[in-house]
Subunit: 281 residues, 2 copies
């Protein structure tokens, strides 16, 4: 099922971004691609979550107030479907197209933001953490998301600050106080400046919608007080040539394994989709 070489995947049109999408990613720092994954594929991905969330596992991060899972990490090492998903051509294809060099799986997670209790993520750009904590030199990592629920204005969508990825270094400070997951939060003055200039865009869409955004794009998300869950799969890939130099955080926060991700076939989730369709024995 493996495609033979890095070059082969380039012929599969569905994996590639259009010129317009590449241009928008350069301009805004993010793109939103509606329903890039099918509802059947999303259902297969979602079907693995209850078992993962129920594990007492250090890579399951818990909401401070409600005690429910906020984010479940290291998923490709914990579940076969996610081992395939991190090699999915619709994720790896665009990454390879943009960077043209081998990439490794830096972080693999599902952010949950549960109904009624999901807490906010402070404004931040991932690179602040990757640089300060992991010793990554350049902001070349790419964040690839798949919405696993319908995301609306009410259930805690990601907020992007368009163009903020091109504004140079963002002042940031370590925030281990206001939310349940420590990160380098962007200075409020910078957030205000970027929002006044380019507004805020909420990344909404049907399940299966894909988001791609740059390592220096400022983003965050509000709490979810709606009765609707909001789960998102997130894969961060980074060029092997730009790997961590300070492996201080746990492996599930920045994986040590630098093996390049080689794209699988377009139908690589089919086994799991079919398993869900099969009648109960």
């Amino acid at each position: 099922m493996l495609i033979a070489s890095f070059k082969d995947y380039r012929v599969v049109a569905k994996m590639k971004l259009t010129d317009a999408q590449i241009k928008q990613l350069e301009t805004d720092g993010f793109i939103i691609i509606p329903e890039r994954f099918t509802q059947a594929e999303v259902a297969a991905i979602r079907s693995r979550l209850p078992q993962i969330f129920s594990q007492h596992h250090e890579a399951n991060i818990i909401e401070r107030n409600s005690g429910v899972v906020r984010t479940a990490m290291g998923l490709h090492l914990r579940d076969n479907l996610f081992a395939a998903l991190v090699r999915h051509p619709r994720l790896i294809g665009p990454a390879q197209q943009l960077f043209g060099e081998p990439m490794y799986a830096q972080q693999v997670k599902v952010n949950v933001k549960a109904a009624f209790s999901g807490e906010m993520w402070q404004w931040h750009a991932d690179f602040a953490t990757h640089h300060e904590e992991d010793g990554v030199t350049l902001p070349r990592a790419l964040n690839l998301h798949i919405l696993l629920d319908e995301v609306t204005e009410f259930n805690g969508p990601l907020y992007f600050l368009p163009g903020s990825h091109r504004a140079g270094d963002h002042a940031a400070k370590l925030d281990n106080k206001t939310t349940s997951y420590t990160l380098w939060a962007t200075d409020h003055a910078r957030v205000r400046e970027m929002a006044e200039r380019g507004g805020i865009v909420a990344a909404k869409g049907r399940p299966g919608t894909m988001l791609i955004f740059h390592d220096t794009l400022i983003h965050g998300s509000p709490n979810n007080m709606s009765p609707w869950d909001r789960s998102i799969f997130s894969l961060i890939v980074n060029p092997v040539s730009n790997a961590y130099t300070a492996p201080t955080r746990p492996d599930y926060k920045h994986h040590r394994n630098l093996t390049p991700l080689e794209p699988l076939a377009e139908d690589c989730l089919e086994t799991y989709v079919n398993r869900l369709r099969a009648p109960a024995a």
Copy 2:
């Protein structure tokens, strides 16, 4: 400047709701009236806030995490402009039109929801608190709001559950844990049921927009992580015939004074508007 009797205000068309508005209020439990107050009036109201917020006053309730003012209460007893505003015909006119009997000012406040730090208000219907805490018999109070900032999806708008005011008693329990202001929060199962049936409506609008909603309407609001403040003036009026029977909360949470609010003239804020326009001495 006082209108002579309760009957006189009925002739002033601008104070009255249309039949369509009354019908919508009956059906949905709320109405949103764009820019019912002018930008000059809003500016005059806003100009009083810095001084009020800077007071060390028991009726200034502080956000648990950030320490900024979350809500400032009892305002008609603290500032002359607000003493006029609670008698404004565009607020009292509709209330009298709907109830046709004398109303008193039960609660008078500005809810702030400051940029970056404004915290959520849990789902609740005001009547749960008015009934349980204050011994109000029937859900006849009316909540009259004026947006003092532009309210968008990003700065913590009120969320309404349409039709929830007609669903009978809402199960609720006292919440003095998850937010900075104790209230009777609506049971999550009820919120889910109402949202599945009627959706959620976010009350957005330009400054000066007016909201009217019923005492049993379920509402709440998410945190404000945007760089934009979101202040709302709120007046709760209640028929004198339906007054509190258990005056246990502080006066600023439910005022003891049952003097009926008699509407002032349409231009009753003009003094304050002009004062703002006057050149500095």
